[in-house]
């Protein structure tokens, strides 16, 4: 598609040079490379090499100690949405990780027990199967460890784990679900965590226009978005951290956001980790505003402006990748156009009928 379109454009421009005004009278005047074609300031080979880094994986990785089964997914799905895991029976995992907000909650900061505002934004669980450490500060080694933390946290679901187990064990329907998912194993904190983790690993973003482009459908995204992709990998250098098919290096960086939250630095007292937070995925990002670990940027345009000015705070731990980018207004628009191609149109998530 790309070459024929370029030929059409070239021909139109050559003819127009001899017939002034033709572009205004020809049907081809509607052709806009930002909408339909390629804006080639980047060598084609560079773009091809970059594209190779973004192919989707074929399978979801499940750990050896918690292999997948449909029964485990169903159990985890049920527990994930069940508010009876909280002390007040009113807050579930899905309260902060709401599928309607792309598995975040659409707020600048999470809301815990009552109206308690947490200090960070609720991170999405989308594509979390490929994560390494969990939470913005990486304090959990795996999903099985992470799943129990908000349940027991006094400021969040505030439910002591032994009490949570007694509640679930008192529900006949749950005992049946556990027997199917983990036959011969006790209904305890470990099996609850393993079931929730199994479900969370199945939460994967679907095929986005970007994926179709990567797999060879040249017209799946606009010319502007393709230019945005070039900027993302080149001049703007976003891909240094938002790398690979899931657009994250799963790493920790201080990107210069104002505030006293030292993030990863609290857990790992190295100079480079002060004010560092985990790189989030950019998949379906336009469904998860506001942005950053503290929800301080309201739109994707704001985020691009933020990085363009090189962050807000210059301090010892600031990642060297955070420097002014000197993007033009058009380049910023193209970057945002590209980011929007990462969003998949997925089926609405079903909510379970809870066992009684």
């Amino acid at each position: 598609m790309k070459k024929p379109l370029m030929r059409v454009l070239s021909l139109t421009l050559i003819v127009a040079a001899y017939v002034p005004g033709m572009l205004h009278s020809s049907p081809r005047e509607e052709i806009n490379p930002r909408e339909t074609g390629s804006i080639d300031s980047t060598p084609a080979q560079a773009r091809l090499e970059w594209k190779e880094k973004y192919r989707r994986p074929a399978n979801i990785p499940f750990p050896e100690g918690n292999s997948y089964s449909k029964d485990r997914e169903i159990l985890g799905w049920t527990l994930f949405f069940d508010p009876r895991l909280s002390r007040t029976n009113s807050t579930s995992c899905a309260t902060c990780h709401n599928p309607g907000f792309s598995w975040g909650n659409g707020l600048s900061r999470g809301v815990g027990l009552g109206t308690n505002q947490l200090k960070r934004r609720s991170p999405t669980i989308l594509n979390i199967a490929w994560a390494d450490l969990l939470f913005w500060d990486g304090r959990a080694d795996d999903l099985e460890q992470q799943a129990l933390d908000p349940i027991a946290a006094p400021g969040e679901m505030n439910q002591p784990l032994d009490k949570m187990i007694r509640t679930i064990d008192g529900i006949v329907g749950y005992r049946l679900l556990f027997a199917r998912a983990y036959p011969g194993e006790p209904l305890n904190e470990k099996t609850v965590a393993r079931a929730i983790a199994t479900f969370e690993r199945t939460v994967v973003s679907g095929e986005a226009p970007f994926d179709k482009w990567i797999s060879g459908q040249d017209n799946a995204i606009s010319g502007a978005a393709k230019h945005g992709f070039d900027l993302f990998n080149g001049k703007a250098a976003c891909a240094k951290c938002h790398s690979g098919w899931n657009f994250t290096d799963n790493g920790f960086h201080d990107i210069g956001i104002e505030g006293s939250d030292r993030g990863r630095g609290v857990r790992l007292p190295l100079a480079a980790m002060q004010f560092a937070f985990k790189t989030p995925t950019l998949r379906n990002a336009d469904q998860r505003a506001p942005f950053m670990h503290d929800g301080s940027e309201q739109t994707l345009e704001d985020v691009v402006d933020y990085y363009d000015r090189g962050g807000d705070v210059k301090r010892l731990g600031l990642a060297p990748e955070i420097v002014p980018l000197h993007l033009s207004a058009q380049e910023k628009r193209d970057l945002v156009d590209f980011l929007r191609t990462l969003t998949s149109i997925d089926k609405p998530t079903e909510v379970p009928l809870f066992p009684r």
């Binding site: 390494d132 450490l133 990486g138 240094k240 951290c241 790398s243 290096d249 799963n250 790493g251 920790f252 960086h253 990863r264 790992l268 007292p269 190295l270 100079a271 480079a272 980790m273 560092a276 990642a319 060297p320 990748e321």
Partner: protein
């Protein structure tokens, strides 16, 4: 916790000629070139950043903790250990980068 201990010698430089007792570990594509290595006490372990991104090699192994701090693309840093032991080494930025170092006579 991460104070440099007496038994650990730290050097950092961008141009680091290799000598016979040196062992080089490359960092490329956000991975160490080895997952495990055995060296003798006093031998140098040279970490070379062959990547396009910054790395930060460190360890919190008790008694062997160190922080080579940020390492720009193209830079090298070295460390040696004067006593025997096993050290878990990581990149603080890219947490999947892990290396086990055995120091044996």
């Amino acid at each position: 916790m991460l104070r440099t201990i007496l038994s650990t010698l730290l050097l950092t430089t961008t141009a680091m000629p290799m000598i016979a007792a040196d062992h080089e570990i490359s960092q490329a594509n956000k991975a160490f070139s080895k997952s495990e290595i055995t060296i003798r006490p006093g031998e140098r372990l040279i970490f070379k950043n062959d990547d396009e991104v910054t790395h930060n090699v460190y360890s919190v192994t008790p008694g062997m903790a160190f922080d080579l701090q940020r390492q720009a693309p193209g830079a090298s840093s070295s460390i040696s250990f004067n006593k025997e032991g096993t050290i878990a080494v990581q990149c603080s930025i890219h947490t999947k980068m892990k290396l086990i170092v055995h120091v044996q006579k």
